[in-house]
Symmetry: C2
Subunit: 236 residues, 2 copies
């Protein structure tokens, strides 16, 4: 199987990077330096909870495509008061909003991807906008060959066009691409379009209270607990 797979296409939030702890850690420092005390783990979860509804407006065609940075900002604006951030100036709010550009990889991400990159094209297939993914990679050394997904396709996963556009940009057939994700739903759509699938179990993406994506819910082509497991599975 491995030799037929030319490109690995990765979900990013939760699969490649640990958004919850990255946001909580950075906001803890930010809050401490300004004597703003809140549960920043909860802040990260609250912000993320507004993610799907915001995209849904665009998926349904009620709203034209806008970059995820803009959706993040609109959602952040709704949280500012309850988290004591409403005194911040525009520069500071923008800095907070761009914490998504500074998310950090899980411990196994770079070791695994640096093995995978030797034999495969590695591309993001994320709902993050291009600058978010590029800046994040620059910040922590994620070795993308290409940034694809939402913004290049002008849509949001799980819209099939986002997956198909990504394969087309690489001039590959879906079966030459493997979708790598920590989310069963993402893989279900990818498989339905002909992509190979790899599942990484990330049972703490949402913390101790996580209730979904605790196990592989289908016979994905590769199933592992880390990016290095995916590399093993592909013989890299």
């Amino acid at each position: 199987m491995s030799s037929d797979i030319k490109a690995l296409l990765f979900d990013v939030f939760g699969t490649v990077v640990d958004w919850r702890n990255s946001i909580a850690r950075e906001m803890q420092r930010f809050g401490d330096s300004r004597q703003i005390n809140h549960d920043w783990q909860q802040f990260a979860l609250d912000w993320r909870a507004m993610y799907q509804p915001a995209m849904e407006n665009i998926r349904t065609g009620n709203r034209d495509y806008v970059k995820l940075d803009q959706l993040h900002r609109e959602n952040l604006n709704q949280l500012l008061e309850s988290y004591g951030l409403d005194e911040l100036d525009e520069f500071q709010i923008d800095y907070v909003n761009r914490v998504w550009h500074r998310l950090q990889p899980w411990a196994d991400t770079l070791p695994g991807m640096n093995r995978l990159r030797k034999h495969h094209i590695l591309a993001s297939l994320s709902n993050g906008n291009v600058s978010l993914i590029v800046n994040m990679a620059k910040h922590s050394g994620i070795p993308w060959d290409m940034v694809l997904g939402s913004e290049p396709a002008q849509g949001y996963k799980p819209q099939p066009a986002v997956y198909l556009h990504s394969a087309n940009m690489l001039d590959l057939k879906p079966e030459q691409c493997m979708m790598v994700a920590a989310h069963n739903d993402d893989l279900r759509v990818a498989r339905s379009l002909g992509f190979k699938t790899a599942y990484i179990n990330r049972p703490y993406e949402y913390g101790e209270g996580q209730r979904s994506d605790l196990v592989a819910e289908d016979n994905w082509d590769i199933i592992g607990d880390s990016m290095t497991d995916i590399a093993e599975g592909l013989g890299c």
Copy 2:
């Protein structure tokens, strides 16, 4: 100046890679193995000479955007007979066509880009399609952070939209981007749109008979003879 420039956007054919010698070398080996004797330097020049007219049909709106791979193939089809390649099968012709995916960098390219990447986002702003640029980078280690330009913008340089789309995908203003090219025309358009400019002199891109782009024809922000000169100029 350097600290205000977030991204370097590179012309690729002639600036980053030596298309003429790369094609001639590979075709020499290809021809030798099949007892096909031709002037493969001339083959490279003949093929390249059909490049601008093919794109012009799309720039003028007479034809919808198609990937450069397709234009290369249509042009190659016209050369097959005169270069003794008309006996090749479809697989072999496609392999020859994709020599553009295997072009090799100038000797100074990787040393210069590996210095530049530490402080800047490096993106292609080429008329090459995405898979061409991604495969070329994978083949020789060109350290792109992002592949932009023609295909993502669905146009061909020097259409202004191709430059502006590239800056927009990075969420940068034109003045935060520096266009790096061995072609004065490319830089003229980039500067007219607000980009910073860096010129690399490549007087042998077309061989001994080259008549244009032998010198910097304007006071570009940086002028050098190599990618390492550009790195020096930016203090990298």
